[in-house]
């Protein structure tokens, strides 16, 4: 049976991990690849590197990071952030990234999704969607979400569920769905959003944003109907290990990979 994936996400700036990490036994806790290796050994099913480098001239460090990850990891990894064109994605794929994650650039030019899928195959193209709820929860017609870009700073007026379908139609292989309302809150995933998108698209959905407890991981899969769950701080701060999360999920009847 296909297992549900647990994916740690690492924010990297100029090739360094951004959020504070404090693990015993890491030589360099600021090195994203070393941290990813740690998660690999802990049973992570995949990792996502999110490049938040502001300037394009620092892109070299991210490419170096991707090729170092190819040398050191034995699980798949995606790189997201900062892509503008197919050439940029090709450099990352050539460096060894299994998947590239598109966000703002795809919203600005949706044909980029088709071009990327044609160049690397749908399996290598993840569309990241940052969604924010429109209206008051519970109110009639409130189960709507709007797509935000530029790191969640800019509203687009685009309906998130529609956009997810559009991404899939254009050849995306997966949707990485982040709730802007929940991100960083530790209140759990936006279950209604996750379920709405999961039901609307024929491709896998990775739930992201808001995980604070073990229950939240299971909720994302069982109630949100997601195919994978992504988290950052609960792993980086050592609140839970990947193994703990998977054991909890397994106890809830969710199929997970524990034979690592």
């Amino acid at each position: 049976m296909l297992t549900k994936r647990v994916i740690p996400c690492l924010d990297a700036k100029d090739g360094r991990v951004v959020k504070g990490v404090n693990f015993v036994g890491l030589r360099d806790a600021g090195n994203p690849v070393e941290l990813a290796r740690f998660y690999d050994a802990e049973g992570a099913d995949e990792v996502v590197f999110l490049d938040i480098t502001a300037t394009s001239d620092k892109r070299e460090t991210t490419i170096e990071m991707a090729s170092e990850a190819a040398r050191q990891l034995s699980i798949p990894y995606a790189v997201g952030g900062g892509f503008r064109d197919v050439a940029g994605m090709r450099t990352m794929v050539a460096a060894g990234a299994d998947k590239v994650s598109l966000n703002s650039a795809a919203v600005a030019d949706p044909s980029l999704i088709e071009a990327a899928a044609a160049a690397f195959g749908s399996q290598a193209v993840v569309c990241a969607i940052d969604a924010k709820r429109v209206g008051v929860p519970g109110a009639p017609g409130a189960d709507r979400w709007e797509v935000f870009v530029a790191g969640g700073r800019k509203a687009t007026g685009i309906d998130a569920v529609w956009w997810a379908q559009e991404c899939a139609r254009r050849g995306a292989g997966e949707i990485l769905l982040t709730s802007m309302d929940r991100d960083g809150t530790k209140d759990g995933f936006d279950i209604a959003l996750t379920r709405a998108v999961s039901r609307a698209v024929p491709i896998p959905v990775i739930a992201s944003g808001g995980v604070g407890s073990l229950e939240h991981f299971a909720e994302g899969i069982i109630d949100g109907e997601a195919d994978a769950v992504l988290a950052a701080s609960v792993f980086h701060f050592g609140t839970y290990t990947v193994k703990q999360v998977k054991e909890y999920m397994a106890a809830q009847g969710i199929p997970v990979r524990l034979d690592f």
């Binding site: 049976m1 296909l2 297992t3 549900k4 994936r5 690999d40 099913d45 090729s67 190819a70 040398r71 990891l73 034995s74 699980i75 798949p76 794929v93 050539a94 460096a95 060894g96 990234a97 299994d98 690397f120 195959g121 749908s122 399996q123 292989g173 997966e174 024929p202 491709i203 896998p204 195919d227 994978a228 990979r257 034979d259 690592f260």
Partner: protein
């Protein structure tokens, strides 16, 4: 040391495949050169791009012919993902509607689209395998129920179930690995499948090493006779 060529058809990075084989004790190297493919002790054909694109490139570059020759010469072969699919007679991916693209025709069967059966396609993630008798060598030390990393929208439909080394269920039951003599293929990515994947790559390297050893013995015997 067994020299294993990882065939490069310029579609992606092959570092993890190369690294996995090297870690298992082989002298692995990446090459796009048909001469290197012919001369290597074994060939690994990784999986990147679409069936039609890969076949077009391999034919034009002479790689297809070199791979077939290597297999005919009795050298071990491992196809990964698309590399396994290319082993078969024909494929649907990238062909115009109702048409087929010719494969390497080393094994009998077709590569067809994975039916969705209400499940999400591509089939992405870690899934388990049920190993057959055929899979004993490639999966030595790996038990049925082990998980491997998959990412694909097409599957192999072999004419003969006898070549199936393991099965995986995803709405339909499909061949997640094949084995026929020294020709092996896996639909999953061993190079991305952590410890279990390393074991599969190590088993393949052992097969190549055994093959090399018996060839050297044969050669020595031949020299002794002359």
């Amino acid at each position: 040391m067994a020299r294993i060529v990882v065939v490069d058809y310029h579609k992606g990075n092959l570092m993890s495949v190369e690294r996995g084989l090297s870690a298992a004790g082989a002298d692995a190297f990446v090459s796009d050169d048909p001469v290197s493919i012919r001369e290597a002790d074994a060939v690994v054909l990784p999986g990147v791009g679409s069936f039609a694109d890969a076949m077009a490139y391999m034919r034009e570059s002479g790689q297809a012919e070199a791979v077939v020759e290597s297999v005919r010469a009795g050298r071990p072969f491992l196809g990964i993902c698309l590399g396994m699919q290319l082993l078969f007679d024909r494929g649907q991916e990238g062909a115009s509607c109702g048409e087929w693209v010719e494969g390497l025709k080393i094994l009998r069967g077709s590569c067809v689209r994975l039916p969705s059966c209400g499940l999400k396609v591509p089939h992405v993630g870690w899934d388990d395998v049920s190993i057959t008798d055929r899979g004993e060598r490639l999966f030595e030390g790996v038990s049925s129920g082990s998980h491997f990393y998959f990412t694909h929208s097409y599957i192999v439909d072999a004419d003969d179930d006898e070549v199936v080394a393991c099965w995986t269920d995803y709405g339909v039951r499909f061949a997640s690995a094949v084995a026929s003599g020294l020709v092996f293929g896996c639909q999953f990515h061993p190079e991305k499948s952590s410890g279990k994947g390393r074991e599969v790559l190590r088993n393949f390297v052992h097969i190549v090493q055994d093959c090399e050893q018996s060839r050297h013995l044969e050669e020595r015997k031949g020299e002794g006779l002359s």
